[in-house]
Symmetry: C2
Subunit: 266 residues, 2 copies
């Protein structure tokens, strides 16, 4: 039987700005008697990376522009929060009451530039938002280096977050930063069970991110770190999360096409 | 440590039309000394379900219409294959050379109505395509009933397939049929780690489908059945895969909005 095992560390302390997540993972793993093996994949939720990197903003300190205040009224959103979202946004893709879908500065298409207030301590005067890490690939690399130095084995690190999708309800764990693993997986076997040629492209890092998300939980589970063991993956020292992303022009082109088709144009 | 374990059965025979997949799973599980526990989730790839249900079509037997031949030329596709796709399609959403994205009769938005020729035996005169199961929820229920009868415990079944996404490269395992599990997961805990109110909607069945896909493989791995143990899920006797899907009108509305925003309209 081929097996795949996920282990979520319990007892990770509340992460503070400046904390060394890689070192904390090693410490808790030792306490929990988890021993790393080579080719383990460590999935870390972006939330604690953002906290460690101080990517938190008190909305009461944010001065929304006049344009933002007007748009916030239209979208029925908090102007301070919208201001923070827009600062992290390259392009707004969908904007209607209750929903803003953006291409953020990292190239991700998500709701509100991946900004939220879950699992942050409330500020003295209100909401504290967490932004995505400055550069999630760099964050992943730092965590990876700290762990590899300690254990003397090669691993991979994926930073994940939960995103919505246009055609399906609910959120799904997806990869937002990687280190040590290829962005797209091309299986080494090039034939199907009947010997026909195949060359599938698999978004394996998203599948791993989704699997880890199942045990991390989304409320007060406090399991922000999950080790995944048993995935046949392609190591890479150079791949970045951008290598998984379609350019947003493709998204727009597809949207254009969908609208044309729906209208019955040729 | 919270753990999540996936077990892929090895030695599942090549599935033929008329095979009872639930019975085969029980048989191989016994041979492999896998013992089911209550609340295990069995993920079955749609490919073997389609085969068991005889959802295979030899393209040489298909007579494409004149319209299909013309469209196939434009899209640089095989006319026979396109004819089969269109018969399973409710609405074409994107159509350009090399790519056709459809809303199929089941409501899924995917490339080519989820039809492909991987892991099918070549027919006497060419390509054999597999269509999605007639009603994947019904297929899931049958498999579930066969297993539950044999083991005397409650489980859940998910039929999965791999889909592309508009903003990210590569394919990801997603759920296309369910039995015994809620379509959308609402965690029973309603607070985050700091006691703030939360009510996340989680596409847990897609996360499970993605996790299982990691071990199933996409070429000649022959691991079409994966048992998932350790997920906190909400059982349901009534939920269907449709309960996870947004109506396609939302997709069109979002596409419209994306195009408007990209053009800088208000």
């Amino acid at each position: 039987m081929k097996t795949l095992n996920l282990y979520a560390l319990e007892g990770i302390p509340l992460i503070q700005q400046g904390d060394d997540i890689g070192a904390i993972i090693c410490e808790i793993a030792e306490k929990e008697k988890f021993s790393f093996e080579g080719d383990d994949i460590v999935v870390v939720t972006s939330k604690i990376v953002s906290k460690a990197e101080g990517r938190l903003i008190d909305t009461y300190k944010v001065e929304p522009s006049k344009e933002t205040v007007a748009l916030a009224k239209k979208l029925e959103m908090d102007p301070g929060k919208l201001e923070v979202i827009l600062r992290e946004t390259k392009r707004v893709l969908i904007a209607r009451p209750g929903l803003i879908v953006t291409e953020d500065r990292l190239g991700f298409i998500s709701t509100g530039a991946g900004i939220d207030s879950s699992n942050t301590l409330p500020g003295p005067k209100g909401q504290v938002l967490s932004l995505l890490p400055e550069d999630p690939d760099v964050s992943a690399k730092k965590i990876r280096q700290a762990i590899e130095k300690k254990i003397g084995k090669k691993i991979a690190v994926i930073i994940n977050d939960t995103f919505g999708r246009p055609d399906r309800k609910g959120s799904v764990g997806m990869a937002i930063g990687i280190s040590g693993i290829a962005a797209v997986y091309y299986p080494p076997t090039k034939e199907d069970i009947h010997g026909k040629k195949r060359s599938p492209e698999i978004a394996q890092i998203d599948e791993i991110a989704a699997a880890a998300s199942l045990v991390m939980g989304q409320t007060n589970e406090r399991r922000p770190v999950v080790m995944v063991r048993g995935v046949d993956f392609q190591p890479s020292e150079t791949d970045k999360i951008k290598d998984l992303l379609h350019p947003v022009t493709k998204y727009i082109q597809d949207a254009l096409e969908a609208v044309k088709q729906a209208k019955g144009e040729k």
